[in-house]
């Protein structure tokens, strides 16, 4: 708070410089297109709070001529000394009196000025503001609520994991979509056809892709057990290498490493519709008996699921992309909705520690429900500290 106050004081230290008399004389003249607009005033520069010292917020009072339509915009200039030289950092349209300068160097002192632009030219700046500098904070003060709830959530998960490890395995409801995976693999085995597994279309930085790849290992273990081929077309190179490891690991855990086919995991293309074309081709040429979609999907969800439906394959899908869920619900036999995708690996493996983590998430959901109800009550009675505390940036 002390630092913020100091910075604000520094930012408000305005070095008033008189506008050149010629400019004042011109601005007093009747307004026309050849007259310079009245300068903008009251430039305030503030260090952006709770950041890494990468930006400064600028705001100013509009030129009196702005409302009369004689201003076309404002130009913001920056210098490391009050005497210049000045560099244009940004500009805004007329009527806009706020801007962030995100090109600053941390802990460097800057001076700013703003000029008004009009059909008659650029009016000189009325004042110079500074020095002000962008500094970085140790704690993002707006994220305390996230920190508290994250620590609470992690504590719940660890508690239930320990409990499960000590022999008290928690109850997990049946998830028909996951149960259907083994049924689908069994059917493919009977028909002598492969399984098609699609771990979403995004890269490894998307957690749904991670979840999809983790499930892949369990699916590969089952296909190895039933001696059924699996085809895994992948969009990005990193998920491709991980998918190879997952399938290899699945065959290894099933005790059949020699049956692993190096051609089962295929790198296709990160281009969305090139991928759709390739996978649709696999569906129509190789006729897999089961299609399993687990991960993040976008417009290709219905293209793939409908093509798959036309081949008569059993289809199981899972995604947390809410806008794609209706398409999967319509076109697939089973759909894992949102959190079920993340629960699938724990459910399939049955490992107590993994199952325990699901109960931690359940307990956190209860906490969130209570917070929502209490928050609604507080807001109804005009008590706003909870919503203010939960507000993050």
């Amino acid at each position: 708070v002390r630092r913020l106050t100091t910075l604000a004081a520094g930012a408000l230290c305005v070095l008033a410089l008189s506008a050149p008399p010629s400019a004042r004389a011109q601005s007093a003249a009747p307004a026309d297109t050849t007259t310079l607009p009245e300068p903008a005033s009251g430039l305030v520069v503030r260090d952006v709070a709770n950041d890494a010292g990468r930006s400064l917020d600028l705001s100013w009072k509009a030129s009196p001529d702005d409302a009369r339509g004689l201003v076309t915009g404002y130009r913001l200039e920056r210098s490391t000394a009050p005497t210049g030289p000045w560099t244009a950092v940004d500009s805004t349209a007329a009527g806009i009196t706020e801007k962030s300068d995100q090109s600053v160097i941390r802990d460097t002192e800057y001076f700013y000025r703003v000029t008004a632009l009009g059909p008659g030219g650029e009016s000189p700046a009325r004042s110079i503001t500074g020095p002000v500098r962008a500094t970085s904070e140790w704690i993002n003060q707006t994220r305390w609520s996230v920190l508290v709830l994250t620590v609470l959530f992690f504590a719940f998960v660890l508690f239930y994991m320990n409990m499960a490890q000590s022999g008290r395995k928690p109850f997990v409801r049946r998830i028909p979509g996951i149960d259907a995976i083994e049924e689908a693999i069994g059917r493919a085995t009977e028909m002598g056809r492969p399984i098609l597994y699609i771990p979403g279309i995004l890269d490894i930085d998307e957690i749904q892709t991670v979840a999809g790849l983790v499930i892949l290992e369990s699916v590969a273990k089952l296909t190895a057990k039933y001696e059924t081929p699996i085809i895994v077309p992948v969009t990005y190179p990193i998920p491709f290498t991980i998918a190879e490891e997952m399938v290899k690991g699945g065959y290894l855990h099933a005790g059949k490493p020699d049956q692993y086919d190096p051609n089962s995991v295929r790198f296709i293309s990160p281009e969305q519709f090139a991928y759709v074309a390739a996978v649709s081709g696999i569906m129509l040429r190789d006729r897999p008996a089961a299609h399993i979609f687990m991960g993040a999907f976008y417009a290709e969800s219905l293209l793939l699921a409908e093509t798959g439906f036309s081949t008569g394959a059993i289809q199981v899908a899972g995604t947390a992309n809410v806008h794609q869920l209706p398409f999967f619900v319509v076109a697939c036999d089973y759909t894992l909705i949102g959190e079920e995708l993340y629960a699938a690996s724990a459910y399939l493996s049955g490992e107590p520690k993994l199952v325990g983590s699901l109960k931690g998430a359940d307990l956190m959901k209860i906490v969130i429900i209570v917070l929502v109800i209490v928050g609604c009550g507080f807001e109804t009675f005009g008590i706003q500290w909870l919503s203010t505390w939960m507000d993050t940036q």
Partner: protein, 220 residues
């Protein structure tokens, strides 16, 4: 060590990235940015492996004359030609291989874009066929879905509002579709998102703590 070292790296970097969410100071944010940018280098090597996989699988199919092998010849030729032309354009134009007039730009505009648009356009037909199946009223759930869809679809086009313009405000199709989208639809969507967000955190924690370690291959 073969398993412990990757687990240690995963845990330490995972916890550090969580820390960077709460600590914006340069002591944390600069290394965190560096780690994220480093991923690009890893991805670049990954593309080499991916390209090698494409060539290996397709050469294999061509040599065995598997069904549809002529298409695989076209794929390999297209891949090699696009990479080669892109590399030449990139060197010649200082990385601007999609500048106007470049062969890469021509490939993008006249081959790639129309083909991608064609695939995307198929969506219109698939939506029609999927909607036809979805709106067959067989159960109470299907009936609710069909009614809600009818209200939303009609409420969003002018003709729907013309039909109900005689009704008092709040009962017209436009008002009803707004209610469906704002209240039940939004509430259920948010419930799914909250559940999914917790699933994300639980999955992340399992990986950071090394409980979920299948990505380290099957060797114990």
């Amino acid at each position: 060590v073969k398993r412990e070292l990757p687990l240690f790296i995963t845990a330490s970097i995972g916890l550090f990235m969580i820390l960077s969410f709460f600590v914006p100071h340069q002591a944390v944010s600069v290394p965190a940015d560096f780690l994220q940018q480093s991923a690009i280098i890893v991805v670049a090597f990954g593309y080499v492996l991916g390209g090698a996989n494409v060539l290996r699988i397709n050469f294999d199919a061509i040599s065995k004359q598997a069904p549809g092998w002529p298409y695989k010849v076209i794929l390999v030729l297209g891949l090699v030609a696009t990479v080669a032309i892109g590399a030449v354009d990139g060197c010649r134009h200082d990385g601007g291989f999609l500048n106007e007039g470049n062969p890469s730009k021509w490939i993008y505009d006249t081959l790639y874009s129309p083909m991608a648009a064609t695939m995307f356009a198929l969506l219109a037909f698939y939506i029609a066929s999927a909607a036809f199946r979805a709106f067959r009223i067989r159960t109470v759930d299907a009936a609710l879905l069909a009614i809600a869809a009818l209200i939303v679809m009609l409420g969003r086009v002018p003709i729907g509002n013309v039909f109900t313009s005689f009704l008092p405000e709040g009962f017209r199709l436009q008002d009803l579709q707004e209610w469906v989208m704002e209240i039940p639809q939004n509430a259920s969507k948010r419930a799914i998102l909250i559940g999914a967000a917790l699933g994300v955190m639980a999955t992340g924690l399992r990986i950071i703590l090394g409980i979920e370690r299948s990505y380290l291959s099957g060797e114990e």
